[in-house]
Amino acid sequence: MPAVDVKGLKKNYGKVIALRGISFSAEKGEIFGIIGPDGSGKTTLFRILTTLLVADEGTAVVDGFDVVKDYKEIRKRVGYMPGRFSLYQDLTVEENLQFFASVFHTTIEENYDLVKDIYSQIEPFKTRRAGKLSGGMKQKLALSCALIHKPAILFLDEPTTGVDPVSRKELWEMLKRLKNQGITILVSTPYMDEAALCDRIALIKDGRFLSIDTPANITAQFNQKIFAVRGLEMSRLLSDIRAFPAVKTCYAFGDSHHVTVETGQNELQESVQHALYLYLLFKGHTNVEIEKINPGIEDCFMELTKADVV
């Protein structure tokens, strides 16, 4: 029995369509990532799965229980951390944890083992009010609160948004440890680079899943040749590359531009690469480097959403 089993979920808010028919299943004990930009439907999906909303169409089963019929059972079994860390700002760190423990009819002591890893990092500040914590600390406290009743499945809606890279990394390390304790984790994020940290991911845009697979399989399915191009004048380089006939797409990727090219049947990748190099030299670029690379999740996401790009 999968931990989460979803079939054909649809949801509208008036005229706005949030989910256009989503199906997937997450296995017990895996980290399942739902990755997509803001407004793609991640929060709506999480709210349906945590019984806060009722879908217009489709079914969802969480830990063996239907989200509509058996919502009371599900509420006992899942932990939920909404996007805005939902804490009582005027309660202290410790009071928050105590409160959420009592809401779930348990005590901090009973499940301390489970949250120890995370909570011990913020325990020195346990008398501080939650409203006065930094983003990273709020995130840890909210996660501790969502875990205190030992849920079978943990739903984390954008736990890393607005949090600095160090805290983000720490959070992912914590998730990995929780997974090892057998907890199923569904996590959403707009950061593509976090995809690799999940066992399986679903790419979501405009209420639709573009692809569901392991991160490695998704990048393996990328059927384009892709190069990283560097030079001194990155901005001019971008427009010059785009003007090159064989180039299909060219996007800025930090220190390099990622370029996909059209290759004819018999054309070798090297020859295209060489032609582009010569062309760029001819255009007056210096220090040009072109390198064949393996695509990342972000390349795949853009390839899959290419049709929508303005």
Binding site: T50, L52, V103, F104
Partner: protein, 347 residues
């Protein structure tokens, strides 16, 4: 937007009609022990004036007490026996004006109008007769002989404070959870919605009970407004009113998910009508029928009336049975609506 555009209209209408200390068609009682030509003329003059309407003719002094207890009558006029005879023979006659002074302003206005009408009659007969006749109105103030304003505003303040704390604070407290996102987490927990509501309402219930005690103590010991009737029933009725206000607060919280809106609704839609239409500042009797009708659905109106009866007039619980019943019904209806509307999901 509706609130911003609508409020000035409602307010100007309310103030325009409600802020009038003028009295029109006040209901009075007449005890005519003489029943002669003069008393008939005076009563006639009173009846045709736009200020009074004789609602009841009573037959003895004990009945006066009874009609006052019913609370409808603001003034009673008592003609002594052999009124006309006394007037003709001794040139002097006595009229007693008994006013319900729980609201000192209205009492003053009523007695002034009545005196003016009587003086008018006096001038007429003086003009016809040879002797300088003199009608001496004797004013007697029931319940509040010293005409203390406190007698009027203590019940009003009670109604306001309890309404403010219960309705506004409860609604804001619940809506705050929605805004902070903590409501989401609470809903995804085994906690029953009814427990969430109760845990929000109980503290404010306790605070209101303390407020009630403070206001009563201050009233009795500082303002020297005695509790004339049963303290037990006064407290019981107050607790009932607190309950009604709490359920209003919960109902408001189910309507919105923004703290600002909760403040606006409780402030504009509940507080202002409570102040204007509950009879706390302006007597409801003088308002147009439509406003009087609206005032009936304001819980504070019934509560304030009950407090006046129990605390100031010292009446027994049977005098406020009607108010208690109405408050009970309101509590039941509002609680039912809000519990039903308080969803265990987000939308």
């Amino acid at each position: 937007m509706m609130i911003l555009l609508g409020m000035p209209v409602i307010q100007i209408i309310l103030f325009g009609f409600a802020i009038t200390t003028e009295v029109k068609n006040a209901e009075i009682a007449v005890l005519d022990l003489s029943k002669d030509e003069a008393t008939r003329k005076i009563v006639e003059a009173i009846e045709v004036s736009e200020y009074f309407h004789v609602a009841e003719y009573v037959h003895n002094t004990k009945d006066i007490d009874n009609v006052f207890r019913k609370g409808r009558i603001g003034l009673a006029i008592v003609f002594s026996e052999n009124f006309y005879e006394n007037l003709l023979h001794t040139g002097k006659a006595q009229i007693q004006l008994i006013a319900d002074a729980t609201d000192p302003n209205t009492a003053t206005t009523l007695t002034n109008y009545a005196t003016a009408i009587i003086n008018n009659y006096q001038r007429q007969i003086v003009a016809t007769g040879p002797v300088p006749y003199q009608i001496v109105p004797e004013v007697k103030l029931m319940y509040n002989p010293q005409m203390k304003g406190a007698y009027n505003f203590v019940p009003g303040v009670l109604g306001m404070i309890l309404m403010l704390i219960c309705a506004m604070m409860t609604s804001v407290a619940i809506v705050r959870e929605k805004e902070m996102g903590t409501m989401e987490v609470l809903l995804v927990s085994p906690m029953k919605p009814i427990i969430i509501i109760l845990s929000k309402a109980v503290p404010y219930f306790a605070i209101s009970a303390v407020n009630l005690a403070t206001v009563l103590l201050l009233a009795v010991f500082v303002l020297k407004v005695p509790v004339m009737g049963s303290l037990f029933w006064l407290i019981l009725v107050s607790l009932l009113f607190i309950f009604v206000s709490l359920s209003i607060g919960i109902m408001v919280s189910t309507l919105t998910s923004k703290q600002m809106i909760a403040y606006l609704i409780s402030g504009m839609v509940f507080m202002i009508p409570v102040m204007l239409l509950s009879g706390m500042i302006y007597p409801v009797e003088n308002m147009p029928a439509i406003l009087q009708w609206i005032s009936h659905i304001i819980p504070a109106k019934w509560y304030i009336a009950a407090v006046k009866d129990l605390m100031i007039k010292g009446l027994g619980v049977q005098a406020v049975l009607k108010e208690i019943t109405i408050l009970f019904a309101m509590a039941a209806v509002i609680t039912a609506i809000s519990v039903k509307k308080f969803k265990n999901r987000l939308e």
